[in-house]
Amino acid sequence: MNPIKIFKAGSDAETRAAESIWYENWLLLKKNRSAMFGLYIIIFFVFLAVFAPVVAPFDPYLQNIDLRKMTYFSWPYILGTDDFGRDILSRIIYGSRISLVIGFFAVSISLVFGSLVGLISGFYGGWFDRIAMRVIDIMLAFPYILLTIVIVALLGPTLLNAMIAIGIARLPQYTRIMRASVLAEKEAEYVEAERSLGVGNLELMFMSILPNCLAPIIVQATLGVGSAIIESAALSFLGLGAQPPTPEWGLMIASAREFVSNAWWIVTFPGIAIVLVVLGFNLLGDGIRDVLDPRLKD
């Protein structure tokens, strides 16, 4: 049986049972070393983001013409300075704020709206399902990178619009996953049992079926934060996301492009930050998948 099967939380005993299932999953996850490593990376970056003003040695916007393109390890500029003499380390630390916020926000958009559409589609079927699936098919007919770029180009190149665009472009995946799980779950005996007890549609949908469909969505969302961070950096790199002088990682790479021949560190270090944080989410996501859906584990 799927370990995440949670029955309708009603009595205390049931609530405790539900809690213990999540707790059990957590214990399983804790044993997965690579997933924990991923989690530590994420916690580290969240810490950097929250305490950026304390941790960062310099003001990320502070320019100093005398200290332009200082190489790495030139004390006190550990990772060197960029073409405006700004401390790269401080900019990377402040950049973690932007990237994490974009990652979570973009995923929230696709998670909430995508799952909701998928839930209603799968549960009620009928005309809503048919129309929704047609729209989703059309959205999936665009390669999502292209879809993201087009949406953000239409909305205007700002960080907020980049987040919205990423959220919309990734939405179909969540709808599909949710719909498929709901369709399978709808036929389960407990649903029939509850229905025969007179449980209403809304309650059935949100309180009984939804919790049982969360596993694949949680996995998708965890991995999704990582890809959203890469995509937002890519948009900023193309000039369609954050605008200067924001210390955004993709933008930092873009603005240092012309110096690849004489100041490689300006390009390299922000990229390493992206790789690390995305790696963290991918490791954690893979670990969660192994716990929640052992069938997928190889």
Partner: protein, 359 residues
């Protein structure tokens, strides 16, 4: 009894039920193609038509007077009601007429045709690289499970999917072009070589050039220019293919027929390559196909970094300058290719794996 069942019975009598299901599946999937493409065209048209910014102002400049803008709008057909514009556009698109680029004044379809070979060439080379290496790494990982090699390559694959493409491209430029001075930083051909492209696939042109003049420099230059962009574009598919191959191989190696094959005393190499890999490749082929479709669009970043004159870079500049007809045409062409490739992959999969058709 429904119509489907009656036909099924008829076919069953002739003992060709599998074919019946296959054709039904193919027709069903083909039938979905047209509404999807119509949806794509409609969405692209209205997204751009309703977006802010007047094309007439883009052509004439911000200071153009009202009369001139109105005259230009009439010329572009933008003074008509939206639904009339839509019908006109649809009629033209069906004839592959996407209008003229606002920026260059040239026919959009001609501009696309001129640039598509560059993108396809890049995508093909990336995909060959990713498939060959990815399958190789995946097979070794699966057969030597839990070995150092397995852990190293799977971590490498995870690293590969965690990397921003544009950053990887720049790092490769820093290492191989700037520091080692081995490979060019961008473009498709050394500008010193004078030659006239025939097919616009420069590798092919290079080979033709050898036959014509015996000079291998053009081919050499085309290939060296391809390496870095192909590696950059191929890294993510490589990682995905390696992971899929590994898990698919592990799944197959568990099967009874592998045990049977081993029990016959067949060499391990033969078991793996003749029996296991063949069956494990089914999902891998699907992923390769889907990734190829993705690459046609994903090339935007790679093409921008390596100044690769393909459709991605062109489309990006069209978006930047709000060149509506070019953007519309570019998106429709890329998406159509994407949808058709996906459909082809689906059909191919149903041909090689009959189980999927009956579902």
């Amino acid at each position: 009894m429904t119509g489907d069942e009656t036909t099924a019975h008829y076919f069953k009598a002739k003992q060709s039920l599998p074919e019946f299901y296959m054709y039904r599946f193919i027709f069903k999937r083909l039938g979905l193609l047209i509404p999807t493409l119509l949806g794509v065209i409609t969405l692209v048209f209205f997204m751009l038509a309703l977006s802010p910014g007047e094309p007439a102002r883009v052509i004439l400049g911000e200071r153009a007077n009202k009369e001139a803008v109105e005259k230009m709008n009439a010329e572009l057909g933008l003074d008509k009601p939206m639904h009339v514009q839509y019908v006109i556009y649809l009629k033209k698109v069906v004839q592959l007429d996407f209008g003229k680029s606002i920026k260059t004044g040239q026919s959009v379809i001609d501009e696309i045709k001129a640039r598509f070979p560059a993108t396809i060439e890049l995508a093909i080379f990336s995909m060959i690289l990713a498939s060959v290496l990815g399958i190789f790494v995946g097979v070794i990982s699966a057969t030597k499970r839990y070995s150092f090699w397995d852990y190293a390559s799977m971590f490498g694959a995870l690293f590969g999917v965690s990397m921003p493409v544009f950053w990887l491209g720049l790092v490769l430029i820093i290492i191989f072009s700037v520091n080692l001075n081995l490979l060019p930083t961008g473009g498709r051909m050394d500008i010193r070589y004078y030659f006239t492209p025939i097919t616009n696939f420069y590798v092919l042109d290079g080979i033709i050039h050898i036959f014509k003049t015996g000079d291998p420099k053009v081919l050499g230059s085309a290939l060296t220019h391809l390496i870095l962009p192909a590696v950059t574009l191929g890294t993510i598919p490589l990682a995905i293919i390696a992971r899929i191959t590994r898990s698919s191989m592990l799944e197959v190696l568990k099967q009874d027929y592998i045990k049977t094959a081993r029990a016959t005393g067949m060499s391990e190499k033969k078991v793996i390559f003749k029996y296991a890999l063949r069956n494990a490749l089914l999902p891998v082929i699907t992923v390769i196909g889907l990734q190829f479709g993705m690459l046609l669009a994903g090339a935007i970043l790679t093409e921008t970094i390596f100044a690769w004159p393909g459709i991605g870079k062109w489309l990006y500049h069209a978006i930047e300058s709000r060149d509506f007809p070019a953007v519309q045409g570019g998106i429709i062409v890329i998406s159509t290719c994407f949808v058709v490739i996906n459909l082809f992959v689906d059909l191919l999969y149903s041909v090689i794996n009959p189980r999927i058709r009956t579902e």
